[in-house]
């Protein structure tokens, strides 16, 4: 069983789902002959043909709109945003058409909208975004943001089989930087379940995507200082795994939330509210957060470094929290 990258895990999920179910089709910009800007869909066209792997014009609204229409006939379209930043161009189709369809008139929209997201690769203001919270605020959508190759493969399979519109964020910093062995059988990872990445007793670090790895590094460093941190990877942002969040807080009594998204109205605020509602008496200190700055993602390396959370920032915040 060779180790595979997260990108390869995603690619395998697409191949296996399209092999399993002829209702699964893929559409997006440059996904066919070229295999996608990041080569996630490489080989898909050759195997499944142009009826199932559709190179589209640069028209995000048309991509998602057409996918909604396809889903009404029982297809399960998987749309690629070349960079997830461009989801802004089809915001209306996602939030008004796809998300409200089942509630309004009982028409499920089983589509997946996937694409590379996140910073740390000097992509600048329009190729580095983490726009997940626009969509976490939209009832009717599901929002998934994995951090490992195994989860990416298993969660994408679950997303494709789900009867609802699922936004699937692929952190491009992780695409080829992480590798793991994954089973060859047809496994899935359930949407809406967090994972405990490291057991600990002194405080909880809640995170997801690239920041889950940063949080784990921070936890290792903290352990050398005698602080035993638990690290939880949310994996799904909508619906949130409230039970896992509350269980960990009740165990460690301290919560630090780390996300690469910007600070104001990031998911840390929502989680803080959930914890206040469900575990206020269990808290031994303030709920702290380490996040990106409230700015666009800047381009130049020293600026982006300043913008992003990192291990040092997480360790520093955890030290403060541990004092309570």
């Amino acid at each position: 069983m060779p180790a595979v990258t997260m990108l390869e895990g995603i690619r395998q999920a697409l191949f296996e789902e399209m092999d399993r179910d002829p209702a699964v089709v893929a559409l997006g910009e440059d996904i066919g002959v070229f295999g996608g800007a990041f080569k996630v869909t490489e080989g898909l066209l050759a195997r499944f043909g142009p009826e199932r792997v559709i190179d589209t014009p640069i028209s995000e609204t048309a991509i998602v709109g057409a996918a909604c229409g396809m889903s009404f006939l029982g297809l399960r379209p998987v749309c690629e945003m070349q960079f997830i930043d461009f989801i802004a161009c089809c915001f209306n189709q996602v939030t008004n058409f796809a998300a409200k369809s089942h509630y309004r008139w009982g028409a499920p929209v089983p589509l997946v909208l996937r694409g590379p997201s996140g910073g740390g690769v000097h992509g600048g203001p329009f190729h580095s975004a983490n726009p997940e919270m626009y969509f976490v605020h939209t009832p009717g959508l599901k929002v998934v943001y994995p951090s490992t190759a195994y989860d990416a493969k298993g969660l994408l399979k679950s997303a494709i089989r789900d009867n609802n519109p699922v936004l699937f964020f692929e952190h491009k910093f992780l695409y080829r930087r992480i590798k793991e062995e994954i089973p060859s059988d047809d496994f899935t990872v359930p949407i809406g379940k967090a994972a405990v990445r490291r057991e600990g007793s002194d405080l909880t670090i809640l995170s997801y995507a690239a920041m889950a790895h940063t949080s784990l590094e921070a936890a290792e460093q903290l352990s050398t200082e005698g602080i035993d941190a638990e690290v939880i990877d949310l994996r799904t942002l909508l619906p949130l795994d409230r039970d896992a969040i509350l269980a960990s807080v009740k165990k460690t009594n301290k919560l630090l939330i780390v996300h690469e998204d910007t600070r104001t109205a990031g998911i840390a605020g929502e989680i803080a509210a959930i914890v206040c509602e469900g575990a206020f008496e269990d808290l031994d200190g303030p709920i702290l957060r380490v996040t990106a700055l409230d700015t666009p993602v800047p381009y130049s390396p020293p600026l982006e470094h300043r913008f992003l959370p990192n291990t040092e920032k997480v360790v520093a915040a955890a030290r403060e929290l541990a004092k309570y």
């Binding site: 066209l45 029982g74 089942h102 599901k142």
Partner: protein, 427 residues
Amino acid sequence: MSSRLTHEQHLELYYYMQLNRQLEDRMVRLFRQNKIVGGLYSSLGQEGISVGSAYALEPRDWLAPMIRNIGGLLVKGFKPRDIFTQHMAKYTSPTLGKDATSHFGDLKVHHTVAPISMLGDLIPVMTGVAMAGRYLGQNIVTLTWIGDGGSSTGAFHEGLNFAATQRAPFVLIVENNQWAYSTPVSRQVPVKNLADRGRAYGIATKIVDGNDVMAVYTATKDAVDECRAGNGPVLIEAKTMRMQGHAQHDPADYVPKEMFEHWKARDPIARYEKYLTENEIWDGKKKAEIHARIERELDEDQKFAEESPLPPPELAEQGVYCDGCHQIEADWQRPKEEVMPPKASIEAAWTVKSFGGLEPEIPGSKEVAAFDNGAKTPARAVEERAAELVSKSDGSKAPAQAPRVPFGRGPKDKSFARSAQHKPRKR
């Protein structure tokens, strides 16, 4: 009379137009009695477009209404009670009170997609329905409408361009009713005919008198036939007039009185009544029968709606997600093996028909749009230049053989095959 319709069908068209109008007349009364919860939009004067175009579809075909397409919903098989209850926010409405007006649909029986208020969004959606229908081998055509105002949205452009590149079996009716809320069409679109926009997408277009139901029906039927033959999409501009304000609250005093008078003299129902009489399709007795039937049906459905309950409050929390409440299953009308490996597998490589300069680099290559109104498409201009070039160089009019290169598009898929074969389309 050179119509393709039987007498029965002619009368059915009349029934739907008159049902559309009388249903809306009743809703105006209900609105004034405060029994309509939200807004009420009128299609007065535009009934011929909704009814005539929807009537050209077969039951297997799909449509998506806009707010002024009540007539299309009636033709597709929805009942007046569906319209009454939607407007009155009743639990018995198709959306159980969750949405209003014509914002409802049905996937299984009526093949109708519910619209949203953001204009233009249905164009890519119905393109997707058309593509999926073709993929599943269903041989369906899809249709939706857009107003003159909605034709300025980005979704209109993206959707129509995508439909055109896909040759989707999709008919778009542009209802040019002269006013987008309070703004005249001249301030929205700097061209005389909205159909001209279709030419920019390289698709077939047609302009019809929207207040002549037979003209609308005939043009749409031709368009549907062309789409089913693989020559879609088609854009039809139907010229008409919105005879009331944007909605009931709007007195439309920004519209010159003379304009209303001009169009009132061209009322689609009065004109069609004259047509039926002149062509001896009906008599006074037949007309009275239809009116009596409409009266009876509307009485019954209005009573049903008025007596229906409002939804229980807890319904507000239900149905955001499909948690297995719906079975999602595609209706395959072709062998699935065709879209699975190894049959579907191809060599993934592009071939190009043109090198993109001003000269025709590949003599004889051509792509002719069918069913257009004589517009010289860029492709045809190149073709003509190519023919000219050949005849000058070797004295013969015969076009040279176009080179065939693997194209990365499967031979099974007709929409792709045409690119590789350079076959002139049927005119």
